[in-house]
């Protein structure tokens, strides 16, 4: 994938992310790996390289929202991984999905730290969580 002798873009992930990743179905693993591969090749300078939508996680929140400062502090972004499938957004020329991967964007956009994969907000407020044993 990365044919350069030097690694320009960097990817890190934590223990919890890796443990949860192990329990994901293969298509979900593949979707995340595809995101990693595109980032390693192209970085985040041009979002059109990515099939799904990328957005900073504080956008759309009011500045007084309790999550706004948290997302901003950690430069928390998310990418729509296409699980279970992609749907064309009604707002623009990009694709969204129910599931997203959270990541921190660091080092002047040269590094991402993969954090977590969760469901996107739904109208009923439901949220998907892995069972506790996945986190042990």
């Amino acid at each position: 994938m990365n044919n350069n002798s030097e690694q320009r873009y960097q990817v890190e992930f934590g223990k919890l992310f890796a443990i949860e990743f192990e329990n994901y179905p293969k298509d979900q693993q593949d979707a995340i790996i595809k995101f990693i591969e595109v980032f390693l090749k192209s970085g985040l300078t041009d979002f059109t390289h990515f099939e799904g939508k990328i957005a900073p996680s504080w956008k759309g929140l009011q500045a007084n929202h309790p999550h706004y400062n948290f997302a901003k502090k950690y430069n928390l972004w998310h990418y729509h991984i296409g699980i279970p499938n992609y749907q064309k957004s009604q707002y623009g020329d990009y694709l969204t999905s129910d599931y997203i991967v959270h990541f921190m964007l660091q080092d002047n956009r040269m590094k991402i730290v993969l954090i977590d994969t969760t469901a996107h907000y739904r109208s009923d407020g439901s949220f998907w969580f892995p069972r506790a044993k996945y986190l042990e």
């Binding site: 990817v11 890190e12 934590g14 790996i33 591969e37 996680s57 999550h67 948290f70």
Partner: protein
């Protein structure tokens, strides 16, 4: 049964915009963030994906799985 009689009508006015948003930065709906869960993940030990591990799809997968099972 007599039908109710109305001497007025409801006037509805609405506006629909079809203007596409020009930026990826616009979210469909705000996401729900579980800060406790994310804090745990943010503070957990990290693995840096090496150049060798980044070589193929399978090597990336194996690198993540290996870190998951690292003592």
């Amino acid at each position: 049964m007599d039908l109710p009689q109305y001497d007025a009508y409801i006037h509805m006015s609405y506006q629909v915009t079809k203007q596409p948003k020009s930026s990826y930065y616009v979210m469909d709906t705000p996401i729900a963030i579980n800060t406790t869960r994310l804090n745990d993940a943010i503070n957990s030990p990290r693995h840096h994906l090496t150049l060798e591990e980044s070589a193929t799809t399978e090597s990336i997968r194996q690198a993540i799985l290996a870190f998951a099972n690292k003592a």
